[in-house]
């Protein structure tokens, strides 16, 4: 069986509030399912690896095949936990180690 290639995305949340891990992920899943439907969302293998609510930074994992789809969905996020927000991708990498090097 062919190995699934993954990509890790470092995200910066731009919002006035301090959303929790769950609220952030709800916004991400909401955007992906709204844009690509439940079938499309199921192909993404989305997972939240790390979330720092103080620094409003997150690391998200997705499959390489659906990277464009996830990036487009993240760009469409307008609000998180009821307050206006934007999610910016600061770096993309194939490993968490390389991602941390890029974001430092």
């Amino acid at each position: 069986m062919k190995r699934v290639k993954r990509r890790y995305l470092a995200l910066q949340l731009d919002s006035d509030g301090l959303p929790s891990r769950r609220e952030f992920m709800e916004a991400v899943w909401g955007a992906v399912t709204k844009l690509h439907g439940e079938h499309g969302a199921s192909l993404t293998s989305l997972a939240l690896i790390d979330y720092d609510s103080e620094r409003k930074m997150a690391v998200l994992r997705t499959s390489l095949a659906t990277l464009d789809l996830v990036r487009a969905s993240l760009a469409l996020i307008k609000s998180v936990a009821g307050s206006e927000a934007a999610v910016h991708v600061t770096a993309v990498s194939g490993t968490i180690k390389a991602l941390h090097k890029k974001t430092q």
């Binding site: 789809l69 990036r71 469409l76 910016h88």
Partner: protein, 252 residues
């Protein structure tokens, strides 16, 4: 690759439709700073035709202090072909970017074939009045006009309206690609939180059929080319494309 060569190929990103309330100085500064922080090197702000020189200079200063290159832009909304020609005669030499909002087919056709028009924009929500078809694209490909796509409606709309818009944009972008008409992606937003990074704009372009490279070109090269070309035309030494005055006086 040596470091200076890497710098030479680095893209300069441009947002040719940053809607600012020029009366609100603090808001303008905030939005321009945000655009620069997100990675834009050139910003164009739509201005009214009657805008004063001092207002333009103030905006230019704000942008240069923030680290961006400012380009003036005017949006024309003529109702007839003659009105378009009149407005172009009056305003072309005053602004670096001229965008025509095509409200009817006659105006759309005239705008597409006129070499003074830089950007063609169509009503975003009135799908019957989006006249970017094959004939329009053929005319535009022979002039310098590019198709402008604002991402704001994609961010603001939801449900069936966004679905229709995406389907319409996909069709138009496919036609533009076929006829080699450049596509320019701009934000069209006035709120800071609706501003997106250039790479995010390119990611949104994926939704209407532009791949990553074409998407990035639409927010960089295609937009920069318009500004560069018009700056050259508006410079004092310009005579005709490829011809410019290099020296004048009795000793020539």
């Amino acid at each position: 690759m040596p470091r200076n060569e890497v710098a030479a190929v680095k893209r300069v990103f441009a947002d040719l439709h940053l809607c600012l309330n020029v009366k609100d100085a603090a808001g303008t500064l905030r939005t321009v700073n945000k655009a620069v922080a997100l990675g834009y090197g050139i910003v164009a702000v739509p201005l009214t035709p009657e805008v004063g020189v001092d207002e333009v200079e103030r905006l230019r200063t704000v942008c240069s202090e923030a680290g961006a290159d400012f380009a003036t832009r005017v949006d024309l909304q003529p109702r007839t072909q003659n009105e378009l020609m009149r407005q172009l005669r009056r305003l072309r030499r005053k602004f670096e970017v001229v965008c025509v909002s095509c409200e009817n087919k006659a105006v759309a056709r005239q705008a597409a074939k006129d070499r003074r028009v830089d950007l063609l924009s169509f009503p975003l929500l009135d799908f019957r009045r989006r006249f970017f078809d094959r004939a329009e694209a053929e005319l535009a490909s022979n002039s310098f006009a590019a198709l402008e796509v604002d991402v704001k409606p994609l961010l603001v709309l939801e449900g069936p309206m966004r679905v229709r818009l995406l389907s319409s944009l996909r069709r138009e972008v496919a036609i533009a690609k076929k006829f080699h008409v450049p596509v320019v992606i701009s934000s069209g937003v006035s709120k800071e939180l609706l501003l997106r990074k250039p790479r995010e704009m390119a990611a949104l372009a994926f939704l209407f059929g532009l791949d990553e490279i074409s998407g990035l070109e639409a927010v960089s090269q295609s937009a920069n080319l318009i500004v560069e070309r018009n700056r050259e035309k508006l410079s004092s030494g310009f005579v005709a494309p490829g011809i410019r005055v290099v020296k004048e006086g009795k000793d020539c």
